[in-house]
C-alpha cells in the first residue's frame, strides 16, 4: 500500500541543509569559533607567535569551506533523491524551501516564495506585469489552501516540464489557476491560462539557455581548440578557401539550437549525402522558411555525429559566387582546379545559395564544371533555391535537375514559430528590451495575416528584430503590440495599426461619405461598408479577401464609380485600384496573363494580376464586365475568392487576403431595368427578384453556381429614378464647376431650373450616368466654350447660366 502523502517542510533535505548552514555559519558558532581561536590570538598578541594562530585559522577556514561544499552538494542539491518520497515538501527546490516552512502554509507564504523567485520573475515579465503590480495584487489575499493538493499538482507539472524540483514559476502558475482574485491579472493583460502554461515551458528553456558552462569546462575547451589531429589529417585547400566560407569550423560554438525544425529533412539529407551516387541535395522553399538554418542544423548534427563516431570531419563550405564570378579571371578553370585540389584534401560539402540565379549568371563552361562536380563521387553539393527560381531556372534543365534529391521545405507552424522566436529572444535579451508573450503571439498572427510573400519563421523573426530596434530607438523598455503593428505596417505597405480615434470616426461615417458620392445605391453601399468594418477590426475570417462583391446592374448606374470612391476612401488613393477589363481575357490562354506562365520562354512568365498584388497587397481589384471572361479565367478566381491566395505559374503563392475584390457585370441588365420600371420600392419583392435574377443568369450559363456562391454579397445596382438623376446631375455639375474654377479661376452660378432641365435631358434608364455626362459635355460645356469665345471673362468673375441659355 502506498504511504499517504504528507507535507513536512522541516523534514526535508533542503531544510536540513538550511539548518546546518545556519548552525555552522550562524552567530552561535561564530562565538564558538571565537572562543576556540581566542587563546591563539592572545598568544600572538603577547608572545608574537604567529604559528598557532595561523594553523588554527587555516584549519577552521578549510573545514568551513569543505563543509559548505558538503552542504551544497548533498543537502542543497535539487538533483538528489529526497529523504522520503511521500513528503511532498521535498518537491520544493532549495530556494523556495527558505520561504515555506509551515506544515499548513498560507497564500502569503506561497506569495513570498514566488516574489523572491527569479524564475517566477520571467513569467511575470512575459505577462507584461511588474513585480510591484503582482505584489500589490497579492498583498490583500489571505486564503487557506490545501497544500497537499497543490503540491500533488505541482509535482505532476514539474514532471511534465522535466524539472527536478518545483520552483517559484510553477507555484505562480498554480496561484493564477486556483486563486480567484489573481485571475484579474490574466484578464487585465488579455492572457489565458494556456498561454501562461506555454510561458512556463519557455521559462524552462530560458533557464537552460542562461546556464553557461565555466570557461574551463571540458566541452568549452574542446569547442575552443577543436580537434588538431583531425584537422592535420586534411590537406590544404587554398584556392577553394578563397571562394568559400567554412561554416563547419565554428559550428560547434554557434550551431547549437534548442529548437530544431525540420528534423526529418535533416536525417534525409544525411542519408542522401552518404550515398555513393546521386549524393546531392537541393533545398526548395519560400523565403523565410529556414533553408539556411536547415543547412546549419545539418552541419551541426553532422559534426557531432562524426565526433561521436571518431570519424574524420567533413568540411561544409559555402560558396561565395560573387567572388568566383567577378574576382577570378576564368571562373570555370579556377573552380575546376580548386575542386580537384579539395577532393585530394579530404571530404567536403559545397553549398550553393540561390542556385538558380548562380546557374543563370554562370557561363556554359562554369555550368559544365558544376555538372561535373555533381556527378563526381567525391563531392557533395547542397543547393538552395526558392520555388520560383527552381521552377523557372533549374527544373527545365533535366540533366542538372536529375542530379539532385529534392527537399521541399514547408512553412513552420505557428507553434513552432513561437518557439523559434522565444529562442531568438533569449539571444537578443541583452539589448535591454523585453518582449512579452502577447507581443510574440501578435508577431506570429499579424505577420501570417499581412505578410503573405514570405514564410514563417523567417518573416516573424525579422519583424521581432525590427520591433526590438524600433523600441530601442523610441527608448522603450518593452516591445508592445503597437510597435509591432507599426513595424508590420512599414513592411507590408499597408496600415495594420490599431484603429485610432480618427480612423474609428472615418469608419463610422464612411457610409455617409460614400452615399454622397454614389447616388441611388444606398443598399449596396450599406452592405459594402459593413463588410469593410468587419475586415478592419479583424472580425471574421482571416483566410479570405477582406470583401468580395458581385455588382449586377445595367450600365452607368455607379458600379465602377463605387469601386473608385471606395478605393479613395478606404485605401487612400484611386491608384490602389487594380483594374482588370475582363473583356481582354476572353480566350483560354488568357489565364496565363493573369497568373503567369510556367514556361519561362513565354511572354507572360509573370502574371499581371499576381505581380500587381505582390507589389501592393492592400488593393481594390476591379474585375469589369466579368461575364466576358473565359471560364478558365473564372476558375482561377475560384481559388482567390475561397482561399485568399493564388499559386501562380511559377509555384509562387500570392496573398489576396488584404484585397477587396469587386466584380461588375451587366448580366441580367434588361431584367433589372424592366423590374424597376414596374415595382421599385418593395424590399421583400426585391430580395425575391434578386434570387430570380441569379437563377436566370445561372440558367443562361454566364456563371457557374460555385462561382456566384463564393462572393460575400451579390449586390443589385438599380437604374436611377428621375429624382436620383437630379441629385447625380447636381453632383456632376458641382464637380465640373469646382474643376472649372480651379483651372480658369472663373466661377459658374447655375439657376435651379437650368439644373433641373439638364437633369431631365440627361435622364436615361438605359444609359444611366453616362448619358448625363454626355449631356453636360454637349450642352453645358459647349455653351461655356462659346461664351468664353464671345465674351471677355476675367479671373474672379462669375458666369451665370439660366435655362434659356442652354436651349433646353
Amino acid at each position: 500500500m502506498e504511504p499517504k502523502p504528507t507535507f513536512l517542510p522541516t523534514a526535508t533535505r533542503s531544510y536540513a541543509g538550511i539548518s546546518l548552514h545556519r548552525l555552522f555559519f550562524g552567530p552561535i558558532f561564530w562565538v564558538v569559533y571565537g572562543y576556540i581561536l581566542y587563546p591563539y590570538i592572545q598568544r600572538f598578541i603577547e608572545q608574537d607567535d604567529m604559528n598557532p594562530l595561523g594553523v588554527s585559522v587555516t584549519l577552521l577556514v578549510s573545514f568551513l569551506i569543505m563543509f559548505h561544499y558538503f552542504l551544497r552538494t548533498t543537502l542543497e542539491n535539487d538533483k538528489l533523491t529526497p529523504f522520503r518520497k511521500e513528503n511532498l515538501a521535498e518537491e520544493l527546490n532549495f530556494k523556495t524551501a527558505h520561504y515555506i516552512k509551515k506544515t499548513k502554509p498560507t497564500t502569503q507564504d506561497i506569495f513570498r516564495a514566488v516574489l523572491k523567485s527569479s524564475r517566477a520573475k520571467f513569467i511575470i515579465n512575459e505577462m507584461g506585469l511588474t513585480k510591484k503590480e503582482v505584489r500589490d495584487k497579492l498583498k490583500p489575499i489571505k486564503e487557506n489552501i490545501n497544500i497537499i493538493e497543490w503540491m500533488t499538482e505541482a509535482q505532476e507539472l514539474r514532471q511534465k516540464l522535466g524539472e527536478e524540483r518545483v520552483h517559484g514559476s510553477i507555484l505562480f502558475f498554480l496561484c493564477l489557476k486556483h486563486i480567484e482574485p489573481l485571475k484579474d491579472l490574466l484578464n487585465e493583460r488579455n492572457v489565458s491560462l494556456e498561454d501562461v502554461q506555454k510561458i512556463l515551458q519557455w521559462e524552462v528553456l530560458h533557464w537552460q539557455a542562461s546556464r553557461q558552462e565555466h570557461w574551463l569546462h571540458p566541452h568549452k575547451l574542446v569547442r575552443s581548440f577543436g580537434s588538431l589531429g583531425r584537422s592535420w589529417s586534411m590537406g590544404y585547400t587554398h584556392e577553394l578557401d578563397l571562394v568559400t566560407t567554412d561554416i563547419s569550423s565554428s559550428i560547434r560554438w554557434k550551431g547549437k539550437h534548442m529548437i530544431v525544425l525540420h528534423r526529418e529533412e535533416i536525417d534525409n539529407m544525411a542519408k542522401v549525402l552518404s550515398r555513393s551516387e546521386q549524393s546531392n541535395v537541393i533545398i526548395i522553399g519560400k523565403n523565410g522558411v529556414g533553408k539556411r538554418t536547415l543547412v546549419r542544423n545539418f552541419t551541426y548534427a553532422l559534426r557531432m555525429a562524426e565526433q561521436k563516431q571518431g570519424r574524420n570531419y567533413t568540411r561544409v563550405l559555402l560558396l561565395k559566387p560573387e567572388i568566383l564570378l567577378s574576382g577570378t579571371e576564368h571562373p570555370e578553370a579556377f573552380l575546376l582546379k580548386a575542386l580537384g585540389q579539395a577532393q585530394q584534401a579530404g571530404r567536403f560539402i559545397l553549398i550553393i545559395e540561390k542556385l538558380g540565379m548562380f546557374m543563370e549568371e554562370s557561363n556554359a563552361n562554369l555550368r559544365g564544371v558544376i555538372l561535373q562536380a555533381l556527378q563526381s563521387t567525391g563531392i557533395n553539393v547542397i543547393g538552395i533555391a526558392n520555388a520560383a527560381d527552381y521552377h523557372s531556372l533549374i527544373k527545365n534543365d533535366s540533366a542538372f535537375d536529375g542530379m539532385f534529391e529534392k527537399t521541399f521545405l514547408d512553412e513552420a507552424s505557428e507553434e513552432d514559430t513561437m518557439a523559434v522566436l522565444m529562442e531568438q529572444f533569449f539571444k537578443l535579451e541583452k539589448q535591454g528590451v523585453n518582449i512579452t508573450f502577447k507581443a510574440l503571439k501578435s508577431i506570429v498572427e499579424l505577420s501570417q495575416r499581412y505578410l503573405g510573400t514570405s514564410a514563417l519563421p523567417g518573416k516573424a523573426t525579422g519583424i521581432m528584430e525590427d520591433a526590438i530596434l524600433t523600441a530601442k530607438a523610441q527608448k522603450a523598455k518593452v516591445v508592445t503590440e503597437a510597435i509591432i503593428r507599426q513595424t508590420i505596417s512599414q513592411k507590408a505597405h499597408m496600415n495594420v495599426e490599431e484603429v485610432t480615434a480618427g480612423e474609428k470616426d472615418k469608419l463610422i461615417h464612411l457610409e455617409d461619405i460614400l452615399k454622397k458620392k454614389v447616388i441611388g445605391q444606398d443598399h449596396a453601399i450599406h452592405l459594402i461598408v459593413n463588410a469593410l468594418k468587419r475586415a478592419r477590426l479583424d472580425i471574421g475570417s482571416s483566410k479570405r479577401p477582406q470583401g468580395t462583391f458581385l455588382f449586377l446592374g445595367p450600365t452607368g448606374v455607379g458600379k465602377t464609380e463605387t469601386a473608385k470612391v471606395l478605393a479613395e476612401a478606404y485605401f487612400g488613393s484611386v491608384e490602389n485600384i487594380v483594374r482588370v477589363d475582363m473583356n481582354e481575357y476572353g480566350n483560354a490562354d488568357s489565364v496565363y496573363e493573369i497568373i503567369g506562365s510556367p514556361d519561362p520562354g513565354k511572354s507572360h512568365s509573370e502574371g499581371f494580376l499576381t505581380k500587381k498584388v505582390q507589389d501592393n497587397p492592400a488593393s481594390l481589384i476591379l474585375l469589369d464586365e466579368i461575364e466576358k471572361a473565359h471560364k478558365n479565367v473564372l476558375n482561377v478566381f475560384l481559388q482567390i475568392l475561397d482561399e485568399g491566395h493564388l499559386i501562380d505559374g511559377l509555384g509562387q503563392k500570392t496573398d489576396f487576403r488584404n484585397t477587396i475584390i469587386i466584380a461588375t457585370s451587366n448580366a441580367g441588365a434588361l431584367l433589372i431595368r424592366d423590374y424597376f420600371k414596374n415595382t421599385a420600392d418593395q424590399e421583400l419583392t426585391r430580395t425575391d427578384f434578386k434570387k430570380q435574377l441569379i437563377d436566370a443568369i445561372l440558367k443562361e450559363g454566364l456563371f457557374s453556381p460555385e462561382f456566384v456562391n463564393r462572393f460575400d454579397e451579390v449586390i443589385l445596382y438599380t437604374p436611377l429614378t428621375q429624382e436620383q438623376t437630379i441629385k447625380l446631375a447636381i453632383l456632376m455639375l458641382d464637380k465640373f464647376i469646382h474643376e472649372f474654377d480651379q483651372k480658369k479661376g472663373i466661377k459658374i452660378a447655375m439657376e435651379k431650373e437650368a439644373v433641373i432641365g439638364l437633369a431631365e435631358r440627361g435622364y436615361s434608364v438605359d444609359f444611366g450616368a453616362r448619358e448625363m455626362r454626355r449631356v453636360i459635355t454637349e450642352v453645358l460645356q459647349t455653351y461655356l466654350a462659346d461664351y468664353l469665345l464671345n465674351n471677355e471673362v476675367k479671373r474672379g468673375e462669375t458666369i451665370t447660366i439660366k435655362k434659356e441659355n442652354l436651349e433646353l
Binding site: 539548518s19 591563539y40 604559528n51 548533498t74 571540458p218 588538431l228
Partner: protein, 138 residues
C-alpha cells in the same frame, strides 16, 4: 535549527555518516570522473587516434602527383620518391611532436588530479597533526 532538534537521528546520520562517506568516497569519485572528462577532452583536442593512423601520411596530403607523361623517366621517378618521402617525414615530425605534447598534457593532467586526490586524502592527516600541534602549544 528546528530540524536539528526535531530530527536528532537524521542530524547525527548527516554529520557522522553522510559527511565521512562524502569525504572518503563521493568527492574522490567526482575527482576521478572529472579527471576522465578532462582526459577525454584533451584526447579529443589532440586526437591521438587520428595522429597515429596518419603518422606517416604526407603532410597536408602534399604529394608529387603523376603528370600523365607517357613512358618511364628515371629522373621523374626519383624526384617523386624523394619529394613524397620528404613530405611524409615532415608529416611524421609534426604529428610526433603533437603526440608528444599531447602525452605531456595528459601526464600533467593526471599529475594534477593525483595531487589533488593526495591533498584531499591528506587533509585529515594534516588536521590531525595540526590539532596535535595546537594542543601541544596550549
Amino acid at each position: 535549527m528546528l530540524f536539528l532538534l526535531k530530527h536528532p537521528l537524521r542530524t547525527a546520520y548527516i554529520l557522522f555518516l553522510s559527511f565521512p562517506w562524502w569525504y572518503i568516497w563521493k568527492v574522490p569519485k567526482a575527482i576521478v570522473l572529472k579527471y576522465f572528462s578532462y582526459a577525454h577532452a584533451f584526447g579529443e583536442i589532440i586526437s591521438f587516434s587520428f595522429l597515429l593512423r596518419t603518422l606517416f601520411r604526407p603532410w597536408k596530403n602534399i604529394t608529387d602527383t603523376p603528370s600523365g607523361q607517357k613512358g618511364f623517366s628515371l629522373e621523374r621517378f626519383v624526384e617523386k620518391i624523394v619529394f613524397n618521402s620528404v613530405t611524409r617525414v615532415i608529416g611524421f615530425l609534426f604529428r610526433s611532436i603533437l603526440i608528444l605534447i599531447g602525452v605531456v598534457i595528459q601526464l600533467l593532467c593526471l599529475a594534477l588530479f593525483l595531487l589533488f586526490l593526495a591533498l584531499w586524502y591528506g587533509y585529515p592527516v594534516a588536521v590531525f597533526f595540526g590539532v596535535q600541534f595546537l594542543l601541544a602549544v596550549s
